[in-house]
């Protein structure tokens, strides 16, 4: 939270006259328009959500440890799977990336702050209210949303608990926050780059976030639209999704996945940027194929708008539609493959070391690729009839989201934390955290492929006996993975608030590339780049 450098405030600022440092106490955090403070708050919110969503995963895994109903009733189980998904997607992964964007984009492009600091403050402060409202549904009559994080109508309209209205409002607020954050990123990148930093010189994290921001602006309103249609159906007698009133339940899925598929890339593109930086630094080699990385990321983003119905292969779309979405989905494998090949080639003939951020990044490449390959399998429509809505799908998207998105976030925190707070984290603890997470994550999600192929549907609170052994393993893995995250929290705490650990040098690592390393001291002062650096 309050890093040394941040508290000292403006140590490196020459012009002290108009500089007054941050407010004291809680009000500093309420009123702040500083990108570093806001970034920190986003990251803390994400960490809190990760813990809450993780506890829900523990409930799910405890119930599924053995066949039979032991701990919770099926309705509460459905609330757990629903809220676990919503909290992890909207509360953990997305805010974490926004937090990293806040911290890093101005420092990487040589800007003093984000372009729209007050909007930045507001887009953060909307979120605690949105999530408080979402979580408060647990205490309402009828309980929390129980219709899955994809909230298919009519289960989420006619058959939903009354709390669905609060869920809709929470989604609206999160969407507003995301759109404002995305606008801020775009305006910042377009207008505040240091002289000489052309687009094709921008660090990849900035590039991937720029593309992500466009995706957010394009699809968040679609999500807002679909929940508004639900609201109309529930409270105002409309029948968008009610066949009896002339509506169409499948329309819901089309609109939802038109948001949902780009959303998937919103959660992974910034990760691509992060690991590109880290792999290059610890291979001591420039990133292979920078230009192709930029183009591959853009192609993935564009393709993400024309593949949505591969989530709906079993709803009965016509043969031609089925073929179109199968082909377009397979096409995504090409630019994604290019990225993986580029990372591997960056490592090739490098001079590699394996600090914690590098370990997480290598694991990212391996495990994300496994998730990508199972995605390729899912793209084959006839085979998808057997995979769809089974644990094979659960394994697939957890592989891209947990050792994918989440590992990249952990890698990013380890990588940039010394720059942020001026101290090195504890490397031994970091390695323990990595290896336990790596083992835990695979123990949790790999056997899900098997039970899925063997026929276990997802979102069921109890299962047939042939799935018992693997489910027990999965539950054990989940405990290992979940608890090992406490090491991370302790490590970050002792480095920042605890002020333990060796002081970091300004460069921190061995010849890293980028303004944040070469043009700024460690820890970074509260205000940076009040005069823009020169980039050549």
């Amino acid at each position: 939270m309050s890093q040394e450098g941040v508290l000292q405030g403006g140590g490196a600022v020459a012009d002290d006259e108009h500089h007054h440092g941050p407010d004291k106490g809680i009000l500093r955090w309420v009123y702040t328009t500083n990108h570093k403070d806001i970034g920190t708050m986003y990251l803390l919110l994400a960490l809190g959500s990760l813990l809450i969503g993780g506890c829900m995963a523990f409930v799910i895994r405890a119930e599924l440890f053995q066949p039979g109903l032991q701990l919770v009733d099926p309705n509460f189980f459905n609330q757990m799977t629903t809220m676990h998904g919503l909290i992890m997607v909207f509360g953990a992964i997305m805010p974490a990336f926004v937090g990293l964007a806040n911290w890093l984009i101005p420092m990487m492009i040589g800007a003093p702050d984000m372009a729209l600091p007050r909007i930045n403050n507001w887009s953060f402060w909307l979120l605690p209210f949105a999530f408080t409202m979402l979580l408060s549904t647990f205490f309402m009559d009828g309980g929390a949303p129980n219709f899955g994080w994809t909230f298919y109508a009519p289960l989420s309209t006619t058959y939903a608990p009354p709390s669905v209205t609060f869920f809709i409002f929470a989604i609206h607020i999160m969407g507003i926050s995301s759109v404002m954050g995305a606008v801020n990123v775009i305006v910042t990148i377009f207008n505040m780059r240091a002289p000489g930093m052309t687009f094709m010189k921008m660090p990849l994290f900035v590039w991937t976030w720029l593309i992500t921001a466009f995706l957010l602006i394009a699809v968040m309103p679609v999500l807002a639209g679909v929940v508004t249609m639900m609201l109309m159906d529930i409270h105002f007698g409309a029948s968008f999704f009610d066949a009896a009133g002339g509506g169409d339940p499948v329309l819901f899925q089309h609109v939802f996945w038109f948001f949902g598929h780009p959303e998937v890339y919103i959660m992974i593109l910034p990760a691509f940027g992060i690991v590109s930086h880290i792999i290059s630094t610890f291979s001591r080699k420039p990133l292979f194929g920078y230009t192709s990385m930029v183009f591959a990321t853009s192609s993935i983003a564009i393709l993400s708008f024309i593949v949505w119905a591969h989530h709906m292969f079993t709803v009965g779309i016509p043969l031609v539609g089925e073929l179109f979405f199968m082909y377009s989905t397979m096409l995504i494998a090409v630019p994604t493959g290019v990225k993986v090949f580029n990372w591997v080639t960056t490592m090739f003939r490098g001079s590699m070391t394996f600090e914690t951020p590098m370990l997480f990044s290598i694991a990212f490449v391996v495990l994300f690729t496994i998730g990508g390959l199972s995605g390729l399998m899912l793209a084959v429509a006839p085979a998808d009839f057997q995979y769809h809505d089974t644990y094979f799908v659960v394994a697939h998207f957890h592989y891209v989201l947990v050792p994918g998105a989440l590992f990249s976030i952990l890698a990013a925190v380890y990588y940039w934390l010394p720059k942020w707070c001026g101290r090195m984290y504890n490397e031994a603890l970091g390695k323990w955290h990595f290896w336990l997470s790596f083992i835990g994550v695979n123990l949790t999600f790999f056997p899900m492929h098997f039970v899925g192929l063997a026929g276990m549907p997802r979102r069921i609170p109890d299962y047939a006996l042939q799935f018992a052994d693997f489910n027990a393993i999965v539950s054990v893995g989940a405990v290992v993975f979940g608890l090992s995250q406490l090491l991370f929290i302790y490590n970050v705490w002792r480095t920042t608030l605890g002020q333990k650990g060796v002081k970091a040098s300004d460069l921190v690592w061995d010849q890293p590339v980028g303004l944040e390393w070469t043009a700024l001291p460690s820890p970074v002062p509260y205000h940076t780049f009040q005069t823009p650096p020169k980039v050549d």
Binding site: R61, G68, L71, Y159, A243, V365, Q466
Partner: protein, 372 residues
Amino acid sequence: MKRVGFSAVSALLLLTTSHSAFAEWGLNMTEGVTRVSHDVHDLHMTIFYVCVAIAVVVFGVMLYSIIYHRKSRGAKAHNFHESTVVELIWTVIPLIILVGMCIPATATLIDMYDNSDAEIDIQVTGYQWKWRYTYLHEEVDFFSSMSTPSEQIDNSQAKDVNYLLEVDYPLVLPVDTKVRFLFTSKDVIHSWWVPDLAVKKDTIPGFINESWTKIDKPGIYRGQCTELCGKGHGFMPIVVKAVSKAEYKSWVTAQAVAQAAAREVKEMSFAELMTQGEKVYNTNCAACHQKNGAGMPPMFPGLKGSAVALGDINKHINIVLKGVRSTAMSAFAEQLSVSDVAAVVTYERNAWGNDKGDHASPMLVKKLKDNK
């Protein structure tokens, strides 16, 4: 948390001591018992091997670099970072692989979508939480509900081999016959999946989806609902019983006769009504209103001591027949026979300490049903 710790320990014990006592470990997709399911399995294995090959190459190069190009071995970093030729190669090769993959996938998909020339048409309707099978050209139409007793689910009884995968009335199909399914739903979206047939199709209210199968060999094939459909989602299995054509014919005839007989309304004694009512209640009502009638308010009101169960009997019967608009209470007029409705209403008025003492006669139910 205590529970979780305990789980971890016992899981480790389980792993070290017992290979599953119940069933063998399923690792892979079933090959199934139809031509289509074999094709799908082949596609699955092909794409799987393609993925393995890609993974071996990519991870192989990576591992090589990790071992040989590490600083601790004195590796010096090279400085190459661009090659258009290489980028083109690894764009084009995956493209070719994908086109190669699309060809058999397209053929199989076209085959799966060819619903023509079916000999039997069966409408499959999803209900929360059971299936209804209507044989369109026969006088056969019935519901199929899970038959696993709740004692096995709450762990007070040992679990059967087919735990959660058994039903009261399976779908009976002949082998070597093209059967077309028409899928729809009465309430929310469900999805009908039998892995051995490689048929999975969503049942959507207001829509009719199509699919077909032609089973090669007799047997019992089990599946489950695969679209989240509420609290009973995990408890609406599918059982298909594939029999010889001759056996199928005699089954259809016998079913038609039995169902016609069941539709006949005859008087029943109070004791008969109570016995049948308990069975009907536990199959159809207990998921929401609970076995002990306590319900799960406010979504699912209790029946024990409720104004409905202790009030006017006509009103009570009408609620069961017609459901309650915009709530989870669905209309049971189609789902239950007249005698079942009479029995379940009687049971609800006289079980768990409810003591109306009256009973609903099948005649009365029939009268109310015909009145609409």
